[in-house]
């Protein structure tokens, strides 16, 4: 482990010698294909701001996604990216992090991708608590496939799969996450409050462990009005503040007067706030920096060189080799 961390510091040191300054455009790749007015644009802007402010080197940064509108995210970032398969963004990201702990790994997943087909991976990723930053773009609908109800669609949502309105109470990703062992960071943001969104993205990036950020996001195309009550009434948003959490600016406090001081280490209170749905809590619900990360617990002391990888693979494959009679003994 020591050797690994030494190596990391050496490469970081070499890279830092070239003092580079980035602009937002340096992280922009192509023109987003999202609809005009889509909340994904706000998330992209916040994440690009983070990259710029933290001077993240594009070649040391990876965005991993699954399937859905949100999962087009890596295409628009001029960094490394992995557009994965449906629901499997988290395992891919875990693999990347395990092999290359020196990279900054981000995951962009949607409400369908994470809470439906990828739900099992989601639960276990939280338990593994690897040092990843996960953004759940929750627009409460399947947008890419043109309006089917998702697990987080509010009850009564009319869609192509639920023409009479959905029958079940919506799943609450916050309470689910807060219910899993080893959870270390949970926050909720809303795309229409860019200042808080950015502050949360930043706090999530700086947290060591899996930071889970649910971003409530408008879908102007398929659910244009569904979030209007919250968007147009600032008092239906509860801003969480704390010395160890967010400290909203004076300008923001003028608009969002409904605020609550909440200690992010208080799990019980976090679960209570998270259950609230008529008023949307925005801020850091839970943040515990002391939960160990899986990659730290499981990381080998050996330096992962190409030779080592090849030797390991050969050893595995040799198990299936059909040896000529007697040769097996000799080789062994």
């Amino acid at each position: 482990m020591n050797m690994m961390s030494d190596m990391k510091s050496a490469t970081t040191c070499l890279l830092e010698m070239c003092d580079e300054h980035f602009e937002l455009e340096d992280y922009q790749s192509g023109v987003p294909r999202w609809c005009t007015g889509c909340g994904d644009n706000a998330i992209l802007a916040a994440v690009q701001r983070l990259c710029r402010d933290e001077s993240l080197r594009p070649e040391k940064t990876v965005f991993v996604s699954g399937i859905g509108c949100s999962s087009r995210f890596p295409h628009y970032m001029k960094t490394y990216g992995f557009h994965g398969i449906h629901g499997r963004a988290l395992p891919v990201a875990e693999g990347v992090k395990m092999a290359r702990p020196d990279l900054d790994v981000f995951v962009n997943t949607g409400d369908g991708d994470c809470c439906s087909i990828g739900a099992a991976h989601w639960i276990h990723a939280i338990r593994y608590n690897m040092n990843l930053t996960v953004f759940l773009h929750d627009n409460q609908i399947y947008g890419l496939t043109k309006k089917q109800a998702s697990p987080t669609s509010p009850i009564g949502t009319k869609s192509n799969t639920t023409p009479h309105g959905s029958y079940l109470e919506a799943l609450n990703p916050l309470t689910v996450t807060l219910g899993v062992q080893n959870v270390s960071f949970v926050a909720q943001a809303a795309d229409w409050i860019p200042e808080v969104l950015f502050d949360i993205v930043k706090a999530a990036y700086h947290h060591k462990g899996l930071s889970f950020v649910r971003i409530i996001q408008r879908c102007p195309e398929w659910l244009p009005k569904s979030l209007d009550p919250w968007m147009h009434d600032p008092n239906k948003v509860l801003l969480l503040n704390h010395a160890n959490g967010l400290q909203p600016s004076a300008g923001l406090s003028r608009v969002y007067k409904n605020q609550l001081e909440h200690d992010p280490l208080n799990m019980d209170r976090a679960r209570e706030i998270a259950s609230n749905t008529d008023i949307i809590p925005v801020g850091i619900l839970y943040n515990n920096p002391d939960v160990p990360c899986y990659e730290d617990l499981r990381h080998s002391d050996k330096l992962r060189t190409p030779d080592l990888t090849r030797a390991g693979l050969n050893a595995e494959l040799d198990k299936y080799t059909v040896w000529p009679q007697g040769a097996e003994q000799k080789v062994a």
């Binding site: 070499l14 010698m17 602009e23 937002l24 005009t36 007015g37 889509c38 909340g39 644009n41 706000a42 992209l44 802007a45 690009q48 701001r49 795309d191 229409w192 409050i193 860019p194 200042e195 408008r218 102007p220 968007m231 147009h232 008092n235 509860l238 801003l239 503040n241 909203p248 004076a250 300008g251 406090s253 003028r254 608009v255 969002y256 007067k257 409904n258 605020q259 609550l260 001081e261 706030i273 609230n276 008023i279």
Partner: protein, 746 residues
């Protein structure tokens, strides 16, 4: 450590080098650190060698080999074979460059063939030469021109200028010839018409000869002659006019200023016409004076001939006028069609008399172009113990010529002549004297550097800045004086990035200024002003030369200026410099400053004016602010109570709110901090709405769109942060409805 510093300071002040602390630089083969990458200059691609294209008098009269090759590759190196062609042709270009720097001369096609042969020999036989042949054939076909190749060496300035001069003179000769032929033809026609009307012209023989042999028997020419003789012209052609025209024809046909077409096709100079190329100012001046009467005669003949052809010549009026023609000399307008003189002199060989002649040429406004070539700007006079001042003399002639106000002046190092080709031509077409002061860089004895590098370094170090002064370009200095060819023209010394590997194999990047001292340090003759500091004795008291130049020295110095240099193995060395060179560098900087001022860079008059205006503006603003503060009422901040807070929520911590900017409801604005970057407004009108550095929208140009668009943007904004204000154009159609729609967003 202390003793080292003391030794360094002592060397700086006295130039004496204690050997236990400092090493001599002789024999170390040091060169400025920034030259490290230019050791093998023929391996690099740069402007040289040049191709001198014949029969062009525009910017294409000289072209760089690499430019031609690039153009050819743009045409020929396409498709799947592009990469192969590119590789081959670039290798050939390098081969030609090596041939040229080795002293080979000839046309581009000749050297191309030689280089191709050498390349083919160097390659292995297995089919490679076939593809090489194909690549070179295709690229050669794309290069449509040919001409002599010229590398950057001692001969270049004269060669290039003569080439340009020849092209300009050839064009001038063609125009002149055309004019002259027209005059001769018309004058001959007048004489011919006169003859036809004379007795002899009406004789039977002449009439018969005019009809020709075919119908010789069909006419009675005697009868015809008799009839014609009776009808004698009433206005007899005056004898004086006939004589005058004959004289004119004589003058025009024997002129020696331009070769006649048949003579030109033979060998110029042989057919008795004048030569205008000189290698001494005195000869040129003498020739000009000797030829003056002939020139006046010819100019006069042309002027009279024009009048004669138009039938405007009146003896009573014009005779007296032309009697005195040219007595006061000719003005540039009259001289313009005649050939210009070209004098190529070398500054080192010039005597004092020659200098005086040069000044006379320049100050007299004669159409004489002078190339003053300087091979060595760091020459050492025998008696002055290493001062640079004598070299200064030849390099400051250009500055003096500028003062004469009507001389076209071009000063440049030869490395920059290609970039200055159009300016060179402009000087040749300028009606008046021109001075080309060119540093060739070819002082091979002084440094081991190739002339191109030496010339470029002189320009870069401000030892020999490039500029032009064109009196015909406009009425003021801003249009006449051009200094921008120098690198980083607004700085004292150009700054270049320099990267090297330190003892720990780490990359170190520094910005180095290239000063006069760097330039001088590459010259072996100045080695005694430098001393190498062994690596273990490097310390903080050694500072870069440019930094030391900016310091005011009071008493004994505690810092010593030092240079970074590299030796033959490209190992970095530090060298300290004595005060004499620093003094020279300071002088060089002062001269550069005065050039900068002429070129409008850091112009002290302008800066003074700016400071004055700025101060006045600030005072005005201050007064306005005070007046405003006295009138404006105190804004009443409404403190709204937190309404509708949920039961579970405590009210917000009472943070002191920062004052909100006062917004008038009439003003259009966006609450940028709340923008969610959703692209609605920017897609509606990308000029009116734009994103800031955080990708949040603001109104970039309120006039770039209509009020209708503002209202539409406000309506479609997902987070309702666009406030359209009041319409700016009261005539916009449908305003009433728009205002109603805008109301919720005001």
């Amino acid at each position: 450590m202390e003793a080292d510093t003391q030794a360094h300071v002592a060397f700086f002040l006295t130039g004496r080098r204690p050997s236990e602390h400092l090493d001599a630089v002789d024999g170390l083969d040091l060169r400025p650190a920034l030259f490290a990458g230019y050791r093998e200059i023929s391996q690099l691609r740069y402007d040289f060698p040049l191709v001198l294209v014949a029969d062009r008098a525009d910017r294409l009269l000289v072209q760089s080999l690499s430019g031609l090759v690039d153009d050819a590759l743009g045409v020929a190196a396409r498709g799947s074979e592009g990469e192969r062609i590119r590789k081959h042709v670039l290798r050939l270009e390098q081969e030609i460059r090596m041939l040229a720097s080795g002293g080979a001369t000839g046309t581009l096609s000749a050297l191309w063939a030689t280089a191709a042969g050498r390349l083919a020999k160097g390659m292995d036989k297995s089919g490679a030469d076939k593809s090489l042949e194909d690549s070179l054939r295709r690229a050669r076909a794309a290069i449509k021109i040919d001409g002599e190749l010229a590398d950057c060496n001692a001969a270049l300035p004269a060669r290039l200028l003569q080439h340009a001069w020849n092209a300009v003179q050839k064009q001038k000769a063609e125009n002149f010839r055309k004019d002259l032929d027209r005059l001769v033809l018309k004058l001959s026609d007048i004489l011919k018409a006169d003859y036809e009307r004379s007795e002899a012209g009406r004789s039977a023989e002449h009439l018969k000869a005019a009809v020709g042999s075919g119908f010789g028997d069909a006419f009675d020419f005697d009868a015809m002659s008799r009839i014609l003789s009776k009808a004698l012209p009433k206005d007899a052609f005056p004898e004086s006019r006939r004589k005058r025209i004959r004289e004119l024809l004589n003058v025009l046909s024997v002129q020696q200023f331009f070769p006649s077409p048949d003579a030109a096709s033979k060998k110029s100079g042989a057919a008795g016409h004048y030569c205008f190329l000189f290698d001494s100012c005195a000869d040129a001046l003498r020739a000009f004076r000797e030829r003056m009467p002939k020139l006046i005669e010819l100019a006069r003949a042309i002027a009279i001939a024009e009048l004669e052809i138009d039938g405007q010549y009146r003896e009573s009026r014009h005779d007296a006028l032309f009697e005195q023609f040219g007595a006061n000399g000719l003005d540039p307008q009259d001289l313009a069609p005649f050939p210009d003189y070209l004098v190529c002199v070398n500054a080192e060989k010039m005597q004092a008399v020659e200098h005086a002649q040069l000044m006379e040429i320049l100050s007299s406004g004669l159409p004489i172009k002078v190339l003053l070539q300087i091979d060595d700007i760091l020459e050492q006079p025998p008696n002055a113990g290493g001062s640079l001042s004598s070299g200064m003399r030849s390099r400051q002639i250009a500055n003096m010529a500028i003062g004469l106000n009507e001389v076209y002046v071009l000063q440049s190092a030869s490395s920059n002549l290609y970039q200055f080709r159009e300016r060179m031509l402009r000087g040749l077409t300028y009606r008046g004297p021109a001075l080309y002061s060119v540093f060739s860089g070819a002082c091979a004895t002084a440094s081991g550097l190739p002339p191109y590098l030496m010339a470029a370094a002189a320009m870069e170090s401000r030892a020999f800045p490039a500029f032009t002064y064109d009196p015909s370009a406009g009425p003021n200095w801003a249009s006449r004086f051009y200094l921008e060819a120098n690198s980083q023209v607004d700085l004292d010394w150009p700054i270049q990035g320099f990267t090297y590997e330190d003892e720990l194999h780490q990359r170190v990047s520094e910005d180095l200024a290239f000063t006069l001292v760097d330039f001088v340090a590459s010259d072996r003759r100045y080695a005694r002003h430098l001393a190498r500091v062994p690596r273990e004795k490097w310390n903080g008291s050694m500072i870069p030369v440019d930094e030391s130049l900016t310091r005011e020295r009071k008493g004994l110095p505690d810092k010593v200026p030092s240079l970074l240099m590299v030796d033959a193995d490209n190992v970095l060395q530090k060298v300290i410099v004595d005060e004499r060179l620093i003094r020279e560098a300071r002088r060089c900087r002062e001269m550069w400053h005065s050039l900068q001022e002429l070129g409008g860079v850091h112009n002290s008059h302008a800066e003074k004016l700016l400071a004055r205006e700025k101060k006045a503006w600030e005072e005005r603003m201050q007064q306005e602010a005070e007046a405003h503060a006295a009138v404006a009422p105190v804004p009443a901040h409404a403190t709204a109570a937190s309404a509708g807070a949920s039961a579970s929520a405590a009210p917000a911590a009472a943070a002191a709110p920062e004052p909100e900017p006062e917004r008038s409801p009439d003003e259009a604005y966006i609450e940028t901090a709340r923008c969610s970057s959703c692209n609605e407004c920017t897609q509606l009108n990308g000029k009116m709405f734009a994103y800031d550095g955080n990708k949040q929208a603001y109104i970039a140009d309120i006039n770039a769109g209509t009020y209708a668009q503002l209202v539409e943007a406000a309506e479609s904004c997902q987070v309702s942060i666009i406030h359209p204000g009041k319409p700016r154009n009261p005539k916009e159609p449908g305003l009433e409805e728009l205002l109603k729609r805008a109301e919720p967003f005001l």
